[in-house]
């Protein structure tokens, strides 16, 4: 292929590239940084450029509006050089000062174009600045610390700074060994910047955060590159506290008997294992991980910080703190940079925690004009309804079945998990994450499976497995069960669902449905007024919304109004980690949200009982299912 000249405006930079290279590659050659977050996969829509002269080969993308296409706008990553070119890079394509919900969120946005992306200023909670200082002389005897602070102030505008003794003690040597070229790591602690670390030379290109969703059943950790604003790696495990009980309440009682320390250690060790695993797999030094940002329910945050939990479960249900300040991660035993900071997201009440403020932030519920709803499925199901003016939250104890944790063959959503189950040509099939032999089944697969069993009349509307209804109804562990896999050429572990597993799923979906219904009644909003329902939770694939309605987990809304938004707890936590503006927004959300206590509702028990059918005792609540096989 011949070579062509690509001139980028308004920068006045020209690159020479071989024909067939993408415009994104050409820009890279020219040293221009593009605000891409999908890495050139054509799904983030962040690489828009305008072709002013010359020819490119380019497909029309749904991420461009008709008007943009008319003006010659293309996605740079999807457009290939075919002649000399003059290309204009719009301001927003270059700007590196804005961050978006990262890759994962973008993926969902690409599929659900209705989900508003939120922009926040780029201001990571911990950041690094390279300082090239002038050496002291008899005419400039400013002390070492002030010399550093003065330059930090000049470069960042920060005026209020703290520095610990341990850092101070190292400063004279580091400064002189590195010719007064050093990098300061600065953590935001409310109104103050803490100079947490001083390293020799310029290390400002290396700064990582561990962002953790501390769930009652599942702990999900992401390793985030705070410079590139991307997710380096993600890993999850079951919460090893489960040996003290499945529910939050039983763990609190365990802490009352044995003290809070053993429960704290479980979390700290789980987090350390996940983080150090990701760090070594990606050859990232723990020292370069400067912050851990945790979202979780109020009880988990208390356990993590070693705070007494008793009053959370006792009337009037009072937390020690709903908005902990940042602490040193080492103070609770988390192993990152020894002076790295631990941020926990602010919660709303003892029963609606920072994972939900993060969820509201990620879904953008607090900015909607219409009424929206967020249902976050975890061991507690939390439901939030509201808009930019008001938000009301409640929490229902669902149990961990929908996370795959109280199901015999359940597992977290990672390679090997059956993430969806379907009927094809009348036969029950499934899909495994990573296209490998099945090792278990995760939440989204479980929802599908129940719907399919109901449709095939292998279970009845009360969820009872009917013996003889299918050759795969069998028994394991002394219980009747349905044997799902393995099948075909792969082999793999036996995956089945028992009657007890099904009962656990029913309990979970009934708790969430009852809570949803009561909350809407209390705020006097009809279901039809809910314009958008965000379904959140750590499921493996996009959850099958139809199946979620069929089993009565979600209310009967048009599918177009229901969006699966993934693990919003971790998405919101990432936003907060990378943008102090988003972090502060969480505080506003916390203040704006009212907690509604279901225990104060006289009809919760009755509503729950009615929801223990598939989809519900009162089938009139599900008009769209009229004519569906299982009815």
């Amino acid at each position: 292929m011949p070579w062509y000249k690509v001139a980028f405006e308004p920068l006045g930079i020209t690159a020479e590239v071989e024909g067939g290279n993408s415009l994104l590659e050409a820009a890279g050659k020219a040293g221009i940084t593009i605000n891409s977050v999908c890495g050139g996969d054509g799904i983030c829509g962040r690489c828009k450029m305008m072709v002013k002269e010359g020819q490119v080969a380019s497909e029309v993308s749904p991420l461009l509006t008709r008007e943009e296409i008319r003006r010659g706008m293309v996605l740079a990553c999807q457009s290939y050089v075919q002649s000399d070119l003059v290309v204009e890079i719009p301001e927003e394509t270059r700007a590196r000062e804005k961050i978006w919900i990262d890759r994962e969120a973008q993926r969902f946005r690409a599929f659900h174009p209705g989900l508003q992306p939120r922009e926040f200023s780029r201001s990571p909670l911990v950041f690094k600045v390279h300082l090239q200082l002038t050496a002291p002389s008899l005419h400039n005897q400013t002390d070492d610390c002030r010399r550093i602070e003065w330059m930090v102030e000049k470069l960042t505008g920060l005026t209020s700074m703290q520095m610990g003794l341990k850092v101070m003690r190292q400063i004279p040597e580091i400064l002189r060994r590195h010719d007064f070229s050093v990098t300061a790591t600065i953590g935001r602690r409310r109104d103050i910047g803490e100079i947490m670390d001083i390293e020799g030379g310029d290390t400002s290109g290396r700064n990582y955060f561990a962002v953790v969703d501390v769930g009652t059943s599942t702990i999900v950790a992401h390793l985030v590159d705070a410079i590139a604003l991307s997710t380096v790696d993600a890993q999850a495990c079951f919460n090893s506290q489960s040996l003290y009980g499945r529910e939050v309440t039983s763990r609190i009682m365990a802490a009352e008997r044995r003290g809070v320390e053993p429960l704290q250690s479980c979390l700290v060790e789980d987090i350390n294992r996940l983080v150090s695993g990701m760090a070594s797999r990606n050859r990232i030094s723990l020292r370069d991980i400067t912050a851990v940002v945790c979202a979780g329910n109020t009880t988990m945050m208390h356990f993590l910080l070693g705070l007494p939990v008793s009053n959370i479960r006792r009337e009037p249900f009072v937390a020690v703190t709903l908005e902990p300040p940042p602490f040193r991660a080492a103070e609770v035993g988390i192993k990152i940079n020894p002076r790295g900071l631990l941020y926990t997201l602010p919660g709303i009440s003892s029963w609606v925690g920072g994972d939900l403020t993060a969820g509201i932030l990620a879904a953008g519920l607090d900015e909607m004009e219409e009424i929206g709803m967020l249902i976050d499925i975890g061991t507690n199901g939390e439901i939030i309804v509201g808009n930019r003016e008001w938000l009301v939250a409640c929490s229902a104890s669902a149990g961990p079945a929908l996370e795959g944790a109280s199901v015999g063959c359940g597992m977290v959503c990672e390679a090997g998990a059956i993430e969806s189950v379907f009927l094809r040509d009348g036969k029950i099939g499934y899909k495994v994450i990573g296209d490998q032999p099945p090792a278990g089944i995760c939440g989204s697969g479980i929802i599908d499976l129940i719907a399919v069993l109901l449709e095939r009349k292998i279970i009845d509307r009360a969820g009872r497995l009917m013996e003889g209804s299918d050759p795969r109804v069998s028994s394991r562990d002394g219980q009747v069960c349905f044997l799902l896999g393995p099948e075909g050429r792969w082999g793999g572990r036996e995956v089945y669902i028992t009657q007890e597993d099904i009962d656990n799923v029913l309990t979970a979906k009934a708790a969430i449905f009852a809570a949803t219904k009561i909350l809407l009644e209390r705020v006097e909003v009809r279901l039809s007024e809910v314009k958008r329902l965000f379904l959140a939770g750590g499921f493996g694939s996009y959850i099958n919304r139809e199946n979620a309605i069929k089993i009565g987990l979600l209310p009967d809304l048009p599918l177009s109004r229901i969006e699966y938004v993934g693990n919003t707890s971790i998405l919101g936590a990432k936003l907060a980690a990378l943008s102090e503006e988003a972090f502060l927004k969480l505080r506003e959300i916390r203040k704006k949200t009212t907690y509604y206590d279901l225990l104060g509702s006289p009809d919760y028990v009755e509503q729950f009982r009615q929801a223990m059918f598939l989809p519900h005792t009162n089938i009139e609540l599900f008009p769209s299912l009229a004519g569906w096989g299982a009815r």
Copy 2:
């Protein structure tokens, strides 16, 4: 004596007292707190009241102006009830919101009425607030920490608060065990208030500080009652670092060989011994000592904090920090309240430390209209000259002789020290602190002794002891010496001064005199323009100014312009401890003061050599000594 009614206006409170009681006692009976700082000795002038009706027996005090006397103003502590009375208490007499330099300073002010007392708002660096909180309910589920912070904000106006994990962990139990009546201890850390401790009940009446002058040779600690604003106790010891050398420089070299830790331990152990001794003697719990406030030269502050000291002695003489933030005292090993804070006063340069900013503050040099001078005599002699517009400081290495530390029989100024020496009826006499057998001699005694020996021609103008000049010229430790005591009925330890001791004193006074002279020349101020000279240092009695001139320690100014102002380092530190306003003033002083490096002065050595005579090689510099015996 009959009983009388004393009505206090404008409070509308009446007390019944027996005739002959003082008005101060009557006010005490009525439960009125008077802002006295001298305890009723008639020297602080803080108990002014106006007698509107009735008779008191009262002496005229020089602390009252003619105009005040005309209006019926009296000192309440010096006025005795002789009839029914109506007495008006002026606002400033009642106000408890102002603090003055404390008792000790007042004593000097009483003797040197010219020394301006400085008033600062009462705002101790660490303070306690009693919080009577409402218990949580289903209608008020505010978390425990926020409940506390909200009340602290309401009572103190503080908006920015920090709280450590250890405190948070204890809060739920303390709140509930004490019916939500607790006391918060709050430390000021720059712009932030740290809630350092939460105690059950109301402990706000107990709050003490350890205020420490960390000198190269001597460490002086005062125990200060931060509620009553009074000094509870004071104690001093020699700095046990002296085993690493007498001078700052030799200690720095020791730290270069062995590390800074052993030198840090010396200071920490000295301070702990002094503080715990005072605490137990006064039955004060260490927990109630919430802060330690230290003034000292820059090197001592580095040792105390464990900061590297090497660059202080190497060109360009750069400190790690001249303005350390507050740290937790426990972090350096100081044993007070486990979460108590350590404040160090800001210094001016590597060679003029926080002890001098404190001195400038206590003497009020930074507010003078005329030119003033402060000479602080320690192991380094520091000289400051200037006024409210400008201040210049220098430092001369004097050695510890004038603190009694490099003199064989030298000792700190405590009971048993000979604090003054004089000629009476041609015989050499002395006075011992505490009127007890002598155990040694302290700085003020040494100055007197040299002057007396010179006057009696027992030493010549070069300071040489002349054998045969007096029967008490003898020898000890293989050296010629002068035997001062004991004498008379008391016995006690033998106190003498050797030729080497005298040489050490000469070196010290020569260093200070040469520095004073050069500094005045550099700033182009004639001696006659110096309207007031403040002499500071930890001497036992008011130093004999005439003798200090006679030996050529001080320049030849009229005695009326010279004031001995005591240990201004500790006075300034106390002011800063009890008033954040004063603490912040220290930072202004630090910024305003220029450091002049004597090492940059080509004639220092020559000036020093000339000052090695008594009083000086150039006797013309001492016109007032014309006709004095020794000349």
